[in-house]
């Protein structure tokens, strides 16, 4: 019996090798509240795959519903049943923390198109884990650096009381050199910020930095604009992204935010991406779409060099990051996290559409604070 099983397994193995199909598992959020981000990552990713013209890449896409335990099970499915070589797609840090460590330990490659929690950049880094977006602190650090650059001396900072929020404020403070007029942790999922805005008004701050992803940011910006408090606001790109910006409207106009990507970054890859994305899906691409697109292109560049079955060669090919990124220069640091330029953008109105334009550079060739803790 056992022999028979082994024989079957061997035949199967032989069969897969013969087709030499690359299987990519994408776990992302496609239903419920945060679906917009997952859909953008998926669409960006699939656009690049389509453009490559390769039909030997099989992408299996599953919806995690933004629930960590569902993500874990899908990951089991990808690894055990689909036997994928590479995984990608997760949007949220808490889902990434649930899935990535065990996946990469089972010899699967994981390319992160969005989340970059600090443990995975520091002591928990892994040779099979590559982050193609940013380490979570990056945009916040850039905001701190930008605040120095425009001479803010007295910032009021706030974020939700959960790990990514705590990291955000730490990231800002890591680069920001002025004083803090206030530091607030809000509730995760909070929708009313009247109390916080009152505190901002009373604090005498010269700038406000906030990290409030998703609907929280929309609520805050609308209420802030209505409150008449005119202290300038800085935020990370997440609250000023293409998908969200239309829902914020006028309230966001003129706000400076930090991002590693914008649609006006001037290189052929990027302009090609923006045009084809619009043609394909009928909407402007978002930050997340660009990250999905870059992730797929990184993958394609490595596949051109080596098969994932040859793990060491494939890993080296990934590490080389020999692809044309929408962001221009892109390379990996020692912990497989990006070394990249982060820009300051400003929200503008183009015709009827709210969008961003780059107004300066916040941090050049920036890596992250955790690389030193990474022993790979």
């Amino acid at each position: 019996m056992k022999k028979l099983l082994l024989a079957t397994a061997a035949t199967l193995l032989y069969a897969t090798a013969a087709i030499a199909e690359v299987k990519v598992g994408m776990i992302t959020t496609l239903s419920g509240g945060g679906a917009g981000l997952g859909i953008d990552v998926r669409d960006g990713f699939m656009l690049a795959i389509k453009q490559s013209g390769r039909d030997d890449i099989n992408v299996v896409i599953e919806d995690d519903q933004r629930k960590p335990e569902i993500a874990v099970q899908l990951s089991d499915k990808m690894i055990q049943s689909e036997r994928v070589d590479i995984m990608t797609g997760i949007i949220w840090s808490n889902l990434a923390m649930a899935v990535v460590p065990s996946a990469v330990n089972q010899d699967v490659f994981y390319l992160s198109p969005n989340a970059g929690p600090s443990p995975l950049a520091g002591p928990g880094c892994h040779k099979n884990y590559f982050n193609v977006a940013w380490q979570n602190d990056n945009l916040h650090e850039a905001a701190g650096a930008y605040a120095n650059g425009v001479n803010y001396k007295n910032s009021f900072i706030m974020a939700p009381n959960y790990p990514a929020g705590q990291d955000a404020l730490t990231g800002y403070k890591r680069f920001y050199e002025g004083k803090l007029s206030g530091e607030i942790f809000t509730q995760l999922g909070q929708t009313d910020y009247a109390a916080e805005i009152a505190q901002i008004r009373a604090s005498g701050a010269d700038s406000v930095y906030f990290f409030l992803p998703g609907g929280m940011g929309i609520s805050f910006l609308k209420q802030y604009a209505d409150s008449g408090v005119d202290t300038p606001v800085i935020g990370p790109a997440f609250s000023f992204d293409q998908g969200i910006l239309q829902a914020v409207g006028e309230a966001a106009l003129g706000v400076v935010n930090t991002s590693q990507w914008n649609k006006d970054i001037d290189n052929p890859t990027n302009s090609g991406f923006v045009d084809t994305f619009q043609a394909e899906y009928g909407r402007l691409p978002s930050l997340y779409a660009s990250q999905g697109f870059d992730t797929a292109n990184l993958l394609l560049s490595a596949l051109n060099v080596a098969e994932p079955s040859d793990a060491d060669a494939f890993r080296d090919a990934l590490r080389a990051a020999n692809f044309d990124s929408t962001r221009g220069d892109f390379s990996f640091g020692p912990n497989h996290h990006p070394v990249q330029t982060i820009y300051a953008r400003e929200v503008i109105k183009e015709g009827d559409v709210f969008t961003n334009k780059i107004i300066g550079t916040a941090l050049e060739n920036h890596s992250d604070a955790y690389a030193a803790d990474c022993k790979m």
């Binding site: 509240g33 009381n161 942790f185 009152a198 505190q199 929309i218 609308k222 409150s227 006028e250």
Partner: protein, 306 residues
């Protein structure tokens, strides 16, 4: 912390409270009169917000948006009542919970199917935007003041409706005795549809009003639903007065807890730790409030004694 800031925070708590009241009033009426636990009440809130955003976006008029929210939520409520809910009045609470849980799924994903996965735009009308200066030099959002006024007006309206009108008599009678009221020749089916639609319309109105200063997105109704349940349980299920008091208590506890608990913790902790523990405790605040009220009075502040 200055007096002005404290007054401002109390106003914020009030505003939050009266909006919760709009949600809770319908919920408590529906439970009090029909004995129905309606988990899908938050979905009607969402329907209102989306209707308002769609209509305001198309016409440019916030007022038309509000009307649309009211009408759309009332319609959705009436349809749901006639097709599904009325089969559940005699069912066990458990069946009601499951059925209305199913309705949440249908409403949420249906809305996403219609409107897409991204939040919609809905903004404060320009006439109401910006702050006004109150006596004492307090800068306060005009729109939020308007919300407080609308909330109080609706509360007053409901009181008049229930205490002073024929329908109110029927509602009060229906609360106590279903058979008696149908014996009086009132069409109980129509009355129930009407009450359900009224509750739905209030929820829709709240969704639209709040949507203008928050994010109009799928799933926005669920956190509010939980809060509204907390409110009616604190107030005593079926009691409009209880819902009003409960809503203000929850609104004030939540707002003031979030502000003052971290301040309190700063007295014996360093700043960052105080912020973290204070806000952690504040996020549990209303549930602690509810727990304490129910342990003290197992049927809420104004609930019927067992």
């Amino acid at each position: 912390m200055s007096t002005i800031l404290i007054i401002e925070q109390i106003l914020n708590g009030l505003q939050f409270g009266v909006m919760l009241f709009l949600m809770a009033a319908g919920l408590t009426l529906i439970f009090g009169v029909m004995g129905l636990i309606n988990l899908a009440h938050g979905s009607l809130y969402m329907v209102g917000a989306f209707a308002a955003a769609a209509v305001a976006g198309a016409t440019g008029s916030f007022l038309l948006g509000l009307i649309a929210a009211f009408v759309a939520a009332a319609l959705a409520g009436a349809i749901v009542e006639m097709v599904i809910i009325r089969r559940l009045y005699k069912a066990a609470h458990l069946d009601q919970v499951l059925a209305t849980f199913a309705l949440i799924l249908i409403f949420s994903e249906g809305t996403r199917w219609l409107f897409g996965s991204f939040p919609l735009f809905l903004n404060i009308p320009s006439a109401l935007s910006g702050p006004v200066t109150l006596p004492g030099g307090i800068q306060y959002s005009l729109y939020r003041l308007t919300l407080i006024a609308i909330g109080l007006a609706v509360g007053l309206g409901l009181w008049v409706l229930i205490e002073r009108t024929r329908i109110g008599v029927q509602i009060r009678a229906g609360k106590n005795d279903r058979e008696m009221i149908s014996a009086l020749g009132v069409d109980i089916g129509k009355l129930y549809t009407l009450i359900f639609a009224l509750g739905a319309a209030l929820a829709g109105l709240a969704g639209a009003l709040v949507g203008a200063i928050q994010s109009v997105q799928v799933g926005m109704g669920e956190p509010v639903l939980i809060l509204a349940f907390v409110v009616i349980v604190i107030g005593g299920i079926g009691s409009i007065r209880g819902a009003f008091v409960g809503a203000l208590l929850v609104g004030l506890t939540d707002t003031l807890g979030g502000v003052f608990l971290p301040e309190l913790f700063k007295l014996f902790m360093d700043n960052g730790a105080a912020q973290k523990s204070g806000s952690a405790l504040a996020s549990m605040g209303i549930y602690v409030l509810m727990g304490v009220v129910l342990i003290w009075r197992p049927t809420g502040l104004f609930g019927a004694r067992a």
